[in-house]
Amino acid sequence: MRLWLGILLAWSLMALAGVWLGEADTGVHLERMLAGPSPDGWLGFDELGRDVALRLLAGAHNSFQVAVSVVALSAAIGTAVGLVSGYFGGWVDRLISGVIDIFLAFPGLLLAIGMAAVLGPGLENVVIALVTVGWVSYARLARAQALSLRRREHVLAARALGAGTGRILLRHLLPLMLAPLGVEMSFGVAGAVISEAGLSFLGLGVQPPEASWGSMIREGTRYMLVAPHLVLAPGLALVLVVLAANRLGDAWRDRLDVKQSEVHP
């Protein structure tokens, strides 16, 4: 558990370091083109002689930014929509559920690819594309939770005492669904990191000379036989972060799900 938290912490520190990177990672030095790992550059250099370790930091910065924005925006939008849908029920619920179903009708990544294609490349557009896909799962979760919570005694009591709808939603329903939403969010981080890298791999995300782990893998595949470190470094970073976020989500979910832990101790 500590290991996974440590990886996520390292990722965020790398992202932070990326802020002060400036132009350091985009400098071209052809004399050290495709050079392997050495004391000068622990992870070697790419086809333009750029330091892979510095590119990795810049990539961490971008993936972290995208992941945090996508998860925060998707969770906020999805939770708000789901809360309203589940709490009010009736035609509001039917309408919102219909919209959710339509979004679910698209294969996830395909919708993001389509959005990115229409919006054009760039970090912000990647965020918009991924939020378009991502809010739905939070909405479904919040709706299901609100449906089961709205008849609870404490909600009825609050309503009988004259609490407004906003207060009931925010103070009496939302706090009870924070834990499952948190689980969803940690899986969301893993999903956003993979999706950003995937879009950048396809050339629809972060644009050169800026670094993304996905575009680093894409560029590295051309030199795989002579310089495998170009593909190995960003790939391993990606796998570790995704693994860590997934494990964290798993652990959190198992802790909440008493029934599961009884079945297999």
């Binding site: 339509i102 690819i113 959005m115 890298a197 893998i217 795989m224 796998v239 995704v242 997934n246 494990r247």
Partner: protein
Amino acid sequence: MSRLLRFAVHLLFTLWAVGSLVFLALHLIPGDLVSVMLGEGATAADRAALRAQLGLDLPLWQQYVNYFSGLLHGDLGQSLLLKRPVAELILERFPYTLELALLALALAVLISLPLGVAAAVHAGRWIDQLAMGVSLLGVAVPNFWLGPMLILLFSLWLGWLPVSGADQPWAWVLPAVTLGTALAAILTRMVRASLLEVLHEDFLRTAAAKGLGRQRQLWRHALPNALLPVVTVLGLQLGTLLGGAVITEVVFDWPGLGQLLIESIQRRDYPVVQGVMLVVTAAYVIVNGLTDLLYGWLDPRVRLT
């Protein structure tokens, strides 16, 4: 019968909604599509000409009606660069994507079923821990990294399999493995979890009390029940599979719909982009609907509620 009718109505509604959303996305998103397609150097006359060619000079509702009446006749428009009907291009590429998806699916089922069953039966033992470890990794390794790694190992270093393309004899192996791995990992976890739950049910205790052998309990009684929820997940996971196919096809230069989609995005050939999005999504919606139907047929409890 009423179930089939409801299914058909729901399917048509979803297809209409999906079609409308794709239409709206391409027409209402900020930025002028025609300027984007033609690039910076285009004159006002060029833009007007392309606009007229695409029917973009008509009022929005008229475009919408034309678009849907075209769809009903199987007309997905004309590619701007290749000057060929979009439907024709899609039909040409579709068999490749179907082949890749089916191979990946088959592979995933063949791996996950025995692995998931073994993990559940020996829960907590080494084989379970191994299966769970492998499946964790399988979910976390993105296909755009797995693919190049497999190429590096099996094509470049060992020289056993072709690097890319679809013409050579064993060319499908690496793409299918790349695409199928994540699905295999997810299904393994599903099969294990589902079977573990069923193994603790009363009817199995009854079966055991009646003196049924271990194997018969497992294969005849537990597994069929455990696989029901897996079927639903399989339908939903097809969406992930189709999205993953886009990336896998790009990695391996596989001439399917995903590659056509990305090529068309790069060429700003928006009618083709729109057509591929629609066809792939429609395929996904239909397969998902059929999975639901299948689920109802497999499990009478669903039909009653």
